[in-house]
Subunit: 239 residues, 2 copies
């Protein structure tokens, strides 16, 4: 059978959790790079090199997201987008050439969910993809924050070290990620309190202490006993 698209990353056992992304792009180089990038981030990638039957194949594959290059020869990406929108709501991220602001405005008015200009930063692309998928599916692979040898996945609520996994509770996660995101300074207890409990009525001061204590002991379990440093009278800081 003569497939018009290529599917990378066909580890079937993972399919259920993976998001399908269809890339419509005529430049082979970019195509391959994109495929690698996305594959590496656990997306299931389909490449489409031209617009022949594009619509049909989109409907067949039913990707979770389409990355659409607007400068495909012979046909205008916007037209495809317009046609697509008549059939489905699959989110589309338009990839436009540099400084074509008009395109940006237009693609959105035609129903693109986001746009990105070439040349783009791969990380930004990934973030945008993640954001769009999250909007649509309510879930997406949130990037993992790393701290030393630890990988912290907020969405899943786990910290990984090699193949050790640590499950954090909601409060522990909030504390850890706040500290993680402010490694450069002392974080006051007050700050953590508002982060955890907003302006909620009165919550015992000690609740925070207890939560930190538990978080510490969990971190200790995987060999990080002294990462949360107490600055008495000032707050905490991640070492």
């Amino acid at each position: 059978m003569d497939l018009n698209y290529i599917c990378y990353n066909n580890k079937k056992e993972m399919w259920e959790n993976m998001s399908k992304i269809m890339v419509i792009e005529d430049d082979k180089l970019i195509c391959n790079e994109l495929a690698k990038l996305l594959e590496h981030h656990n997306y299931e990638v389909y490449l489409l090199k031209d617009f022949k039957e594009a619509l049909k194949e989109i409907l067949e594959v039913s990707p979770d997201l389409i990355l659409l290059d607007i400068n495909i020869p012979y046909i205008n990406g916007e037209v495809l987008l317009q046609n697509l929108r008549k059939e489905t709501n699959i989110p589309v991220i338009m990839v436009t050439s540099i400084n074509s602001e008009i395109d940006e405005a237009l693609s959105i008015s035609y129903g693109a969910d986001d746009y990105i200009t070439k040349p783009y930063n791969p990380n930004i692309l990934l973030l945008r993809i993640g954001a769009v998928l999250k909007r649509v599916k309510g879930s997406f692979n949130s990037p993992e924050l790393t701290y030393r040898e630890l990988k912290f996945n907020y969405q899943k609520g786990i910290i990984k070290k090699d193949n050790l996994e640590l499950e954090l509770t909601k409060n522990e996660m909030i504390i850890f990620s706040y500290l993680l995101n402010h490694q450069n300074r002392i974080v006051t207890r007050e700050e953590l309190m508002t982060t955890l409990w907003d302006n909620s009525e009165y919550v015992n001061e000690n609740a925070l202490t207890v939560n930190i204590s538990r978080l510490r002991s969990k971190l200790k379990e995987i060999g990080y006993p002294d990462v949360i440093n107490t600055k008495k009278g000032m707050g905490y800081i991640l070492l």
Copy 2:
């Protein structure tokens, strides 16, 4: 010139004391109200209505704080926040819609310094803004004050010399940073007293002396025995 942001309150003579706040929000009504509110409280307000070039303009304006609406169309505020965090530590307060608990949690995981839900009480917003600014006040633009070969990081509460690190306690930090910020003159003991204990009369004169003594011995540890110079009957000065 076609500015993408608007600057309110441009009384130049006040700029130095004023904090710049960049508001990223698409709703014009809210925008204007916010601008009025903040302006009225002597903030220098910049409005950004969409995300085109947001990052670039943020870096250009270099605000002291960013108020970021998470529900801007086309792109996700979280993505901007993530990207922003790669470049700078400008504090961000996320403004989230009412029933988006996920967003609240996420904004923290992405490194927001605080969040507030719509509709918000203006006074609470102001308080939060004040709190965040106070945290970073003074030290934001130059997180590390240098003194000879010493780097004093107020936010981390440490003094570094090469790879030696000295941890200071709260009082020691207050004293050292005060001296550091007034290197050019003699600082009276009285001044230091009020800085440390405000006006509480009940504190023994000697408490200050003892605190200075300890600070000195710590500085001595890293090879700076004589930096705090006593001017008998007058005060202290940093050599």
